[in-house]
Amino acid sequence: MAIPRFWRHIGSRYNLVGTKCKVCGKVYFPPRDVCPVCHRKSLGSMERVKLSGSGKIYSYTVIHTPQKDFEMQTPYVMAIVELDEGPRVTAQIVDCDPSEVHIGMRVRAVLRRIGEDGEGGIIYYGYKFVPERTSAKGAQGHLSVK
């Protein structure tokens, strides 16, 4: 992936920045310039918002035949996570056994390494989700990148 292509989405990939339509209040991730509910009325009224990163699993799968560059991780869990603010996001579920994962499971976003562009290229970071365990250290329920 060309560097600018990754760079221009860093806000969303590192900090789960989405958009909120100031007309109807609906929240979207990734960011949209046009609200699918308000259409033209929403133009210029889509404001950036940082999402909490807390949500629950809507559906999931365990990938055994991976995409290129994910071979070392199989089997790994991918899911659609429904965030508490409403939008759904596709992401990897980590730090748990695949057999633990179920629909409705509470999860929270963490910043992790997603991949890299060859040996000399950039390292891609972004969100993955982990089970929301109240006892876990540092479980603030959101991403935090300084």
Partner: protein, 389 residues
């Protein structure tokens, strides 16, 4: 709007065609179709080609002009148009050919679909197929194409109690049909245990829940119905055509147990045709993964939502069932050369409606339906065809 008929069909064998290039298979299918239609190159007013990703599979774009050229038509300078909507490229090309003839712009139109998928490694083919989904927000984070359909299956199981056995039964049925199709990639039956115990691809989808990587091409010749009898005794009229779109990413849909694009495309096609789902005698539906045959048979109105799995189990979609589905073997057994699939489906329906489907013939089939999906359903195209008596 003029009435439109299919007056000729042709297809290559589907499979790993090591000795043939994209242009070879495109031409082979086209020539078979024009021979079947009893026309010659000088009769053709325009061609449309469904092709998903020649740029990635063979590093070649501009393939409609290429195929027209190698069909010997370069000196005739006819319009040659490529149509792309991922795995629905073939069905969408058919719709564009249909609209061109219906509108009166063209009379004789050849619509082909072709994909050459085995000139790249399996990993590269996988990487190309996920381009039908959202590259930035699905593929980037590690999602695969089977993984997306697997999430539909997990949710369908959760909502409606659909079982892994029912998914496997779709594969068993489609292999049984494919065994009778001389052009199918897999001409052998499989049993339920084989399907259930196959290596896992993306839970709950095993190897036999997934359609294969395939080379192949298919073509049809369209003409205004009033001219069709001049060329053939068995014109098959396209009585309904529908197309609809939906969010590109699966996660943006309220309910992933249904494809709204299928629902809306079908609604439009049924309305144009003036028929009900129960009037359909034979259907080719987009079983890129077994779960999608189940979802599609519900969304097309053959069964109530949630009952598609049970319908397979009860044999309702068998060749002698209430609504025979994928008599060709479907994408699962016939093979899935992505850009060709929508046309191949129409070719099977034409064989069925002409009574030329051999051992897989559905007795007395008069109305047939072809349902083609792009990506995870961001595009769906539905065509309804009828025998002209």
């Amino acid at each position: 709007m003029r009435r439109v008929a299919i007056i000729g069909v042709g297809t290559t064998k589907f499979g790993e065609l090591w000795d043939k290039s994209l242009r070879d298979i495109g031409i082979e299918a086209g020539i078979k179709a024009i021979e079947d239609a009893n026309i010659s190159g000088s009769d053709i007013d325009a061609i449309y080609v469904g092709n998903m990703s020649a740029g990635n599979f063979i590093n070649q774009e501009h393939v409609a002009a290429l195929i027209a050229d190698y069909a010997g038509l370069a000196k005739r300078h006819i319009p040659a148009t490529r149509v792309e909507s991922a795995c629905a490229s073939g069905g969408l090309a058919l719709r564009h050919g249909f609209m061109a003839v219906a509108s009166g712009i063209h009379d004789i139109v050849v619509v082909g679909g072709a994909e050459k998928m085995t000139d790249v490694s399996g990993a590269d083919a996988t990487a190309t197929l996920i381009m039908a989904a959202d590259q930035e927000w699905e593929a980037f984070v590690g999602m695969t194409f089977p993984g997306l359909y697997a999430m539909m299956a997990v949710r369908h199981m959760y909502e409606y109690g659909t079982t892994k056995e029912q998914l496997a039964m779709v594969a068993v049925k489609n292999h049984r049909n494919g065994a009778l199709n001389p052009n199918a990639q897999f001409r052998r039956e499989i049993d339920l245990d084989t399907a259930l115990n196959a290596p896992m691809i993306a839970y709950p989808l095993g190897l036999y829940d997934c359609s294969p990587v395939t080379d192949g091409a298919s073509a049809v010749v369209l003409a205004p119905l009033e001219m069709a009898k001049k060329y053939t005794d068995t014109p098959i009229e396209i009585i309904g055509s529908g197309q609809a779109s939906e969010s590109l990413a699966l996660h943006d849909r309220e309910d992933i147990c249904t494809m709204k694009s299928t629902v809306f495309a079908a609604r439009e096609a049924y309305k144009m045709a003036g028929i009900m789902p129960s009037d359909v005698d034979v259907a080719e539906v987009h079983d890129c993964f077994t779960i999608n045959e189940i979802i599609a048979t519900e969304d097309l109105g053959f069964f109530k939502k949630g009952e598609g799995g049970k319908a397979v189990e009860e044999g309702l979609t068998e060749r002698d069932g209430e609504i025979p589905v994928n008599t060709s073997g479907g994408l699962k057994a016939k093979g899935h050369p992505v850009g060709a699939t929508g046309i191949a489906q129409a070719v099977e329906i034409v064989y069925q409606l002409r009574g030329e489907a051999g051992k897989r013939q559905v007795d007395g089939a008069e109305i047939g339906l072809a349902h083609n999906v792009g990506g995870t359903g961001a595009t769906a195209v539905v065509h309804i065809m009828r025998r002209v008596n």
